[in-house]
């Protein structure tokens, strides 16, 4: 699985489309992290997780207050990877056609021509996803799950690496449509960027924000690198004990009385997938228990429903769910 072609100019030697070796993956990841880190400073873990989601071909749910760098993260990611980027501000009057695109009658040719919407970009920032109607939400989620959109009965595949970064503001309740559990389940990770550290914030204040940095970001990897990275994830080795560990954690979320709805099998699969992706980003061809354990909170916290609470609630619910997952994981013995 790992062509032993050394370090050096590996990208050139490796034939196009072949999966990256772990070492190559680590190099790509570290250069991407360094690049993105210039725009989104002090958030290395978030950047790594975002990259892991990308590598695992998943989508991100960013739950945070406005102005902490959600857009910056998405844009920096897009620029560093030389990927197309689109941003959709979800509002209550947004229609599915507004994001998928519509067929317009071309008078010159006398046919309907499809005008692709913002979804036909590699990276889509779906801002405030909970403010739009369930109809539009489900349209987006179908695209996320299938990798294609159906317009006028024609299924149109979305471009190669496709990743949605959806955001929602946990402090807004009026006029929102909280995502149902089944749809939350489709997001590989839920992250919260959080406020920058005091040093970073001071620099931001004095240095004139992140816009300057963003515009100067140069791509450090190509779309094909991303595809090869994604292809390599499946090759990451998982020992049976690790798989048992993942299952034990999922089982723990299902058996505890604190949680009314535990992690689904999709959740367990997601957990193992992200663990693989992160292992790869760290230059390893194998998953170790730490990969699983560290990722439990972002992968599982939004997939469980706490006993006595509705889904997708506000900040308190998010923190409570994360806390429950963290405590549960601390009770599951790690395989030796």
């Amino acid at each position: 699985m790992t062509p032993d072609d050394g370090a050096g100019s590996a990208a050139k030697v490796t034939p196009l489309g072949a999966p990256l070796s772990p070492e190559e993956a680590r190099k790509v990841a570290s250069s991407l992290q360094a690049n993105i880190g210039r725009a989104l400073r002090g958030k290395q873990e978030i950047v790594e997780l975002a990259l892991a989601a990308l590598a695992a071909s998943g989508h991100l749910l960013l739950e945070d207050v406005p102005g902490v760098g959600k857009t910056t993260l998405a844009q920096a990611l897009a620029r560093s990877l030389d990927l197309s980027f689109a941003r959709v501000q979800f509002t209550s009057d947004l229609l599915p056609g507004d994001i998928t695109g519509v067929s317009i009658y071309d008078q010159n040719r006398g046919t309907f021509v499809f005008k692709p919407g913002p979804l036909f970009a590699n990276l889509v920032l779906a801002d405030e996803i909970n403010r739009t109607t369930p109809r539009t939400q489900s349209c987006l989620l179908e695209a996320m799950a299938e990798g294609q959109v159906s317009v006028d009965g024609v299924a149109r595949p979305l471009p190669g690496p496709f990743m949605v970064l959806a955001t929602q503001n946990p402090h807004e309740h009026a006029g929102t449509y909280p995502l149902p559990e089944s749809q939350l389940d489709r997001f590989l990770l839920r992250l919260s960027i959080g406020y920058p550290g005091p040093e970073v914030e001071r620099d931001l204040l004095l240095g004139g924000g992140t816009h300057e940095e963003l515009t100067h970001l140069r791509p450090v990897a190509s779309a094909s690198d991303v595809r090869r990275l994604q292809a390599a994830v499946a090759g990451v080795r998982v020992a049976p004990e690790i798989a048992d560990y993942v299952l034990a954690i999922a089982a723990a979320t299902r058996s505890t009385p604190l949680v009314s709805l535990g992690a689904s099998p999709r959740g367990a699969i997601a957990l193992l997938n992200v663990a693989r992706a992160r292992a790869l980003l760290r230059g390893r061809g194998y998953v170790e228990p730490d990969d699983v354990k560290d990722l439990c909170v972002p992968v599982l916290a939004h997939r469980i429903t706490l006993a006595g609470r509705g889904p997708g609630g506000g900040e308190i619910e998010r923190l409570a769910a994360e806390r429950v997952v963290r405590d549960l994981v601390e009770q599951v013995p790690v395989p030796e």
């Binding site: 080795r237 020992a239 049976p240 004990e241 690790i242 505890t256 009385p257 604190l258 390893r284 061809g285 194998y286 998953v287 170790e288 228990p289 730490d290 354990k293 994981v329 601390e330 009770q331 599951v332 013995p333 790690v334 030796e336």
Partner: protein
């Protein structure tokens, strides 16, 4: 969640561990205390310290340690001083010190070291107990100790392994779990302990050895009221029935009866004090190798059979230096090897009244063989003896001046003018037929004899015999009061037991050329005790168990061993003979044996099948087929984990090596974690030198860190 998972009834692991340790200490102490030599003070101190340690031990742990040190060191010096100055037995002093050490440990129970030390002290106490006594009660305490100590060891190990493995927070749920120290676990451990003991016993019985009786010290039982050198009849009351065994007798020829109607003579009391009797003279006479010669007419009784040989074990504390003999004229007394190694060989003495004594008195249980001629002179032989008595009989003729005149009148009425033998018989018959027997005489009377003969007309054996002696003396016939026991009951141990409640009193009348001859005015049915209660039976059973313990454990030596082997061999021979059908074949026996064999075979087969099937059931076990590098990695991490735990890191089973390394902030720990992960999960090679080097590095850093 934990609360629900671990709910349930029963002991928590912590409680079970605590009580197992405490019980082991208590039983070790009991093993020490059953010897009765520790003294009531120390027993009380231990009980108080045990309860106090339970209530206050955790609170005062670690406080005022200098106080404990002063206490222990002070006790040590006091005991040493006692040994030097008051001649306190060194072994006893050591035992008392061990008790104090154990008390100290009972107040200090927190860490693993404390618990282990408590167990060590308990073991020390048990050894001390073995030195103090080897009685059956010690055996029971020993059994209980071994079971409790097994529990304590297993549970202590479990508890501290859990605490070390999961940290204080992680272990709390497990330590409070009631599903660990279940009856099944405790029962299994107890069975294991007992099985070990049974195995030990088999070795004990199989291999030649010297008796452990040699290590035993003399046991000094509390003296019981019995054969004192005086009797007071005025202080009336209820004569208690005491079921304690005084004599254990084996007779040859064996009378083959369930109960013996025999007098066990102790001593004669010849001087009437006005209220009772006392011994004449200063007591024990000069040492004597030979028994007093029998009166010449003795040979005329005409023996019809062999003399009676009585093998007697006199329990310490009752005999008061008197050699108790069966009825009849003693022909020989032979002291056996002392039952206690410390006891010296006693020697025989003859008192003024011809009573037999031994010295030193304090030899513990006494074992001797008495040969007696138990033929009684016939009544005809007693008649027409001369009535001129030697001067040394003067003491047996003395009539107190203040004796109620009605006594003499009654004596004259019964035997006046008759031959002394007939007079004695008449008085004996009168007393036993006209007066009633009772053990309950409340109140105090001034003249017990007159009260007995003319007022209450009821009394116990002392009153019967005293009245008869005094009446005979008013007639000028020498007579004396004799104390001893009457009876003897066959026990499960195959010997006759004479109990303290069998104490009895009768009369000896002197006939020239015949000597003192026994008369017993107490009604025959009322002599001795009427011990038939449940308690009396339990006491007898206990005594016989004690004798078996002594015979098969304490005094079990090469000879007994040979006999046991011979008996087993004979039993096997007999079984084989029966099975082969030569001796009236027992078909039922054969069927039973076949059934037992079949059951055992089926059990073995089932066990074997289970053993074979188990590996295939354990899917996880099959999966854990690790390569050598993976195994080395696992070993590396486990060793590193132990080191980190020892360094005080809080690790739980849910802690990954990398987390542990982060928490330790040691570079070496990170290196170990990386090497482990790469080899264990990534299949990278991990040479054992690398693993060792990593561990060494970790050790170095841990030392530097400390």
């Amino acid at each position: 969640m934990n609360a629900r998972l671990f709910a349930g009834r029963g002991l928590t692991l912590l409680q079970a561990q605590y009580w197992a340790g405490a019980l082991a200490a208590v039983f070790a102490f009991l093993a020490c205390a059953v010897s009765g030599e520790l003294g009531p003070g120390l027993v009380l101190v231990f009980v108080a310290a045990f309860v106090g340690g339970h209530l206050y031990g955790p609170r005062v742990y670690g406080k005022g340690e200098w106080g404990w040190t002063v206490f222990i060191v002070g006790a040590f010096f006091v005991l040493v001083a006692q040994v030097i100055t008051t001649g306190l037995d060194v072994v006893l002093a050591a035992c008392q010190f061990a008790v104090l050490l154990c008390i100290h440990r009972l107040w200090h129970r927190r860490t693993q070291r404390d618990e282990l030390l408590l167990m060590l002290m308990s073991l020390l106490l048990l050894c001390a107990g073995a030195a103090l006594s080897a009685e059956l009660t010690f055996g029971f305490a020993f059994l209980a100790y071994s079971v409790c100590a097994t529990w304590a060891m297993a549970l202590t190990h479990l508890r501290f392994e859990i605490e070390a493995g999961r940290g204080p927070a992680g272990s709390a749920a497990l330590l409070q779990s009631r599903r660990i120290a279940t009856p099944a676990l405790l029962g299994g451990l107890a069975a294991l302990a007992l099985m070990g003991l049974v195995g030990g016993a088999i070795v004990f019985f199989t291999f030649p050895r010297v008796t452990i009786g040699g290590l035993r010290r003399a046991t000094r039982n509390q003296p019981a009221p019995g054969l004192g050198d005086r009797v007071d009849l005025a202080a009336h009351g209820v004569v208690p029935d005491d079921p304690r065994v005084v004599l254990r007798v084996r007779l040859a020829p064996d009378p083959g009866r369930q109960t013996l109607d025999m007098h066990w003579r102790a001593r004669a009391l010849e001087v009437w004090t006005g209220r009772g009797w006392r011994m004449y003279g200063s007591g024990v006479g000069a040492p004597m190798r030979r028994l007093p010669p029998a009166p010449w007419l003795f040979h005329a009784y005409g023996r019809r059979g062999p003399p009676l040989v009585a093998d007697i074990e006199a329990v310490a504390g009752f005999s008061d230096g008197v050699v108790i003999t069966p009825e009849g004229w003693p022909l020989g007394v032979e002291f056996k090897r002392p039952l206690n190694a410390a006891g010296t060989q006693p020697h025989l003495l003859v008192g003024g009244a011809g009573d037999l004594f031994y010295q030193p008195v304090d030899v513990g249980d006494l074992h001797y063989v008495v040969t007696v001629n138990d033929e009684e002179p016939s009544r005809d032989l007693m008649r027409r003896r001369p009535t001129k008595y030697p001067t040394w009989l003067q003491v047996d003729l003395e009539v107190p001046g203040n004796l109620d005149p009605r006594v003499a009148a009654l004596a004259r009425q019964l035997g006046g003018g008759k031959d002394p033998a007939d007079a004695a018989m008449a008085i004996e018959a009168y007393l036993s037929s006209k007066l009633g027997y009772t053990r309950e005489l409340p109140g105090e009377v001034k003249d017990p004899i007159a009260d007995f003969l003319f007022v209450r007309k009821k009394g116990h054996c002392e009153l019967f015999s005293s009245a008869m002696v005094l009446m005979l003396r008013t007639l000028g016939i020498p007579a004396r009061n004799v104390t001893g026991y009457y009876g003897g009951e066959l026990t499960a141990g195959g010997y006759y037991a004479v109990r303290a409640g069998d104490a009895h009193s009768w009369v000896e009348v002197y006939f020239p050329q015949i000597g003192f001859t026994r008369f017993d005015p107490t009604p025959a049915g009322e002599r001795g005790s009427q011990l038939d209660s449940m308690w009396a039976r339990v006491v007898l059973l206990w005594d016989s168990l004690q004798q078996k313990w002594r015979a098969f454990v304490v005094d079990y030596d090469l000879v007994s061993q040979a006999q046991a082997v011979k008996r087993i061999g004979a039993a096997l021979d007999e079984a084989a003979r029966r099975l082969s059908g030569k001796a009236g074949a027992a078909p039922r026996l054969r069927v039973a044996l076949l059934a037992v064999l079949a059951l055992a075979g089926a059990g073995l087969l089932g066990f074997a099948l289970r053993r074979v099937r188990l590996p295939s059931l354990g899917g996880k076990e099959g999966r854990r087929a690790l390569g050598p590098d993976q195994r080395r990695a696992l070993q590396l991490w486990r060793k590193a984990r132990v080191r980190l735990l020892r360094a005080g890191l809080d690790l739980s089973p849910a802690t990954t090596p990398r987390e542990a390394a982060r928490r330790s902030r040691l570079e070496a720990a990170s290196a170990v974690a990386s090497a482990y992960a790469a080899a264990r999960w990534g299949g990278a090679p991990l040479p054992s030198e690398t693993a060792r080097a990593l561990l060494r590095r970790l050790d170095t850093e841990l030392r530097g860190d400390a």
